[in-house]
Symmetry: C2
Subunit: 193 residues, 2 copies
């Protein structure tokens, strides 16, 4: 089937620890409750050495149902696009069977991420169909630790807000920042620095 190496399919999966560490059945009611989950994902990714110090998840805004999780998988899967947010979007859309999380028959969805999104993930946020983004650590927390965020400007956020995406910042910021520092202190790879 794939005599040419360019034709093989690509697989995106979760690291094994997700099976044991994520409580799928419960409702995550508040922003801090949701943020605690994504910070735990970021921490596990660092401690289990499966990727960079970033976690994300998609929730149904009203019910608090957990739809998908994401963790930085760039190094593990040799794929520059697999930031935590992108993994969370892809997995949520696969699960729901829709390329958008905003459709008349769907619940309202939101992205919760342990750090403000990079330029790629902010763009994807617009395409994803989430109605709200909740961020933990700030862009400057990441850049201070030499993580690049790319071409994100104040007007980038305004662009999303003008299209109905609400932004909440600094939810459990200190706890989220700690994971970035943990990664650095363990000598983790700063890919694309």
């Amino acid at each position: 089937m794939t005599s040419d190496p360019g034709l093989a399919a690509l697989r995106v999966d979760y690291p094994p620890w997700v099976r044991d560490q994520v409580a799928w059945g419960r409702a995550y009611r508040s922003d801090p409750d949701r943020m605690r989950l994504v910070i735990a994902l970021a921490r596990a990714n660092v401690e289990q050495e499966t990727g960079g110090p970033f976690g994300a998840a998609i929730f149904e805004a009203e019910s608090g149902k957990l739809v998908s999780v994401g963790m930085n998988s760039v190094v593990r899967l040799n794929n520059c696009a697999l930031h935590a947010e992108i993994v969370a979007f892809m997995m949520a859309q696969r699960r729901i069977g829709s390329f958008t999380l905003k459709a008349p028959n769907l619940a309202v969805h939101e992205l919760v991420t342990s750090c403000e999104p990079c330029a790629m993930c902010l763009g994807a946020t617009l395409w994803s169909g989430v109605s709200r983004v909740v961020c933990g650590a700030a862009r400057e927390d990441a850049t201070r630790l030499r993580f690049e965020e790319g071409p994100v400007f104040p007007e980038s956020y305004r662009y999303l807000e003008d299209r109905g995406v609400r932004i909440a910042r600094h939810v459990l910021r200190e706890e989220a920042k700690e994971i970035l520092e943990l990664y650095r202190s363990r000598g983790g790879t700063i890919y694309n620095a």
Copy 2:
């Protein structure tokens, strides 16, 4: 293994026509030569009804070797992130076994895309490790046909150029634009409009 629906792996593959329509073995020497390939990908994607009117490819800049192709796969794979450029980056990195196309032991790589990248793809371009981007249709050609490009500003491109990514525009622009018009005339879905 996957009793919870959130845990299944996700698969990214090419539509079947790629096998017959892409000449992998030959060298693509010039910008127009490379652009003709990605325009043909965009056209095939429309005519075979496998996605939006966008094609992309990664080449070794010097040798003209084709490393990967990409075509918009948002609707086909229910995945908002699978723009042509992202598919091309992912497939190239899978093939090479590296999360960056810029490494001391690698050839210099470039992205050729049938239309100027959206905000997500422009961010990913920075993470991908390509040293140059060659664009066919312009942002305004896409937006005139109601394709959204997201928060891309002149300073977004400057941000990339300041980091060593060269940009070439309007290569076979009219031919590239034609595919956007073809898609519209056939009544193709404008997802995320």
